[in-house]
Symmetry: C2
Subunit: 320 residues, 2 copies
């Protein structure tokens, strides 16, 4: 009897991740191809289709044995039609019919969701959220992304703008400007770039010095990881920075939980790898700002799938 | 052919509201009976059953023509079993099997949800939320309650604690104590009692006087309505109070919308009747703190069903 596979595609500005999985979520194969942004991105869907077909041949698996293709893409887009309204990194003109094009190239049904949502679905299916149907994933990377899952399904919102966790307003007055046009967004504080920004502000105001100041003086700049390392070594300013970030992040997570009381909140992205130096104070603030019944039942976890979350969650879409 | 009805019951500490509706949601009859809290509340379910049976007889409508009974009750309880864990106003011992008792008395299937959720379902079915499957209701009364609806269903959360909008942490440091045990909850600011509390703080710190100060001096106290009236008459302190409240409420609503991007946020309860003096600044802050795509698509509305929302939403439960 034929074994049905699902295919996940995670479309990024520089590479496209692709994976074959069984319907049960066991990984068969995963690989990457470069994203060809030239000529208004016209080769992107062609390259993806060709690469999938070559791999299927290698595995001696026919298209009839594939249930479908799920794809995580940078939004915003129309969920029904699979048209991407606009994109900065992929070269496509506005209102690019991504779903239609890939279906035409590949001869398989394609379903699209945004990349942060796919990461959440991946963690729900095979990662830290496994076994839970109500969870929120917060990805703390260069930016802050989010995916909200209720009863096993992504919450899209009326215009696909649900899960904008990075744009929760954290600082009400005199907040730092955010790429989205607002000020004081969580992303300006709890992303890797936000942490560096906050730390530079704290250093500029500081009356003492220490490891982080020395790093800045010697290298001219530093990373979020440098902040965590300095705090682990007891640098006072770095500890204050982390306390500030943990308070804002803990508050945002608590308020998400006060609204949804999910079983799990899963923290992913590079910043989530900081470990206890960040996660312990985040958890303390989270509990302090959560309604009692929420603090007792909604738990924080660190994501386990890393970069593979998106492609696995995309494959999940094809299964549904 | 028999016409199926649904029955809604809204259980409060002093009265029980009951209504008959058609499956389509047309109101047939609605009435109230007193809540008998004596003898550990043992008559409550008996009284409800008796009252429903009398009314069915009056309408010459048999129990076979009733699809079921939905009930809004003050939580917290177990959704599966319909057991109320504990209740302060109803006299029942802990872990009271409400669903089982009422089903036994009445011989009809009973489904229970908390009262704030029922109000949200009522507004979705027949009120300001009609036609929308993704909405959040926020009831600004003596306290602040909430109901979150995604894809037409109430979000319960893992322990039934979703929708605790009143306990979103609004003031991070030195907030007022809340009945829930936390400090700085939205309820300490945007409920009718919270508005009075904030206004008294503002008056104590004020260097000027005005209408609200005069009311306080003459009557020894004042209501939230007095604050709105004074602001409409241009009282500077009352205007400052409302600006403060609107900022906190607008921020909370914006962050709800940034997470869920619902089609509608419906404001109910006595405070929502303040009109433009409150709603205009709330809307301004809401837009300022919302992610662009959210501000463009999530709209604020005032509830239209008043006190009937709960009983109508309870009836909706029986229909599902």
């Amino acid at each position: 009897m034929e074994q049905k596979w699902v295919i996940g595609v995670d479309l990024g500005g520089t590479t496209v991740k692709i994976a074959f999985l069984t319907i049960a979520g066991d990984l068969i194969d995963s690989w990457e191809i470069p994203t060809d942004n030239s000529e208004e991105g016209k080769n992107i869907t062609i390259d993806i289709a060709k690469s999938i077909e070559e791999k299927l041949n290698k595995w001696n698996h026919s298209k009839q044995e594939v249930a479908g293709v799920g794809m995580g893409a940078p939004g915003p887009f129309d969920y029904e039609t699979g048209i991407i309204y606009n994109t900065v990194n992929l070269g496509w003109p506005d209102n690019f019919p991504l779903k239609e094009r890939l279906e035409a190239e590949l001869g398989l049904p394609v379903i699209i969701d945004n990349d942060a949502n796919c990461a959440a679905l991946g963690e729900m299916w095979k990662g830290a959220g496994a076994g839970s149907k109500d969870l929120v994933c917060v990805t703390l990377g260069t930016g802050v992304g989010g995916g909200v899952i209720v009863n096993g399904n992504i919450v899209q919102g009326v215009k696909g703008a649900a899960g904008e966790i990075g744009h929760l307003t954290s600082v009400v007055e005199n907040g730092a400007p955010c790429n989205c046009g607002k000020t004081g967004c969580l992303e300006t504080i709890a992303s890797a770039t936000g942490i560096v920004r906050v730390a530079k502000e704290f250093l500029a105001d500081a009356k003492t010095t220490g490891e982080l100041q020395t790093t800045l003086n010697e290298q001219g700049t530093f990373t979020a990881k440098d902040v965590f390392d300095a705090a682990r070594n007891g640098d006072k300013i770095a500890c204050d920075v982390i306390s500030y970030i943990a308070q804002h992040l803990g508050l945002a997570l608590a308020n998400i939980a006060n609204i949804l009381n999910p079983e799990k909140i899963v923290l992913g992205g590079g910043v989530s790898k900081a470990g206890d130096v960040l996660l312990k104070p985040v958890e303390e603030y989270f509990k302090a700002y959560s309604f009692k019944g929420v603090a007792q039942s909604t738990k924080l976890y660190v994501a386990t799938l890393g970069n593979a979350a998106g492609v696995i969650g995309a494959a999940w879409l094809a299964k549904a």
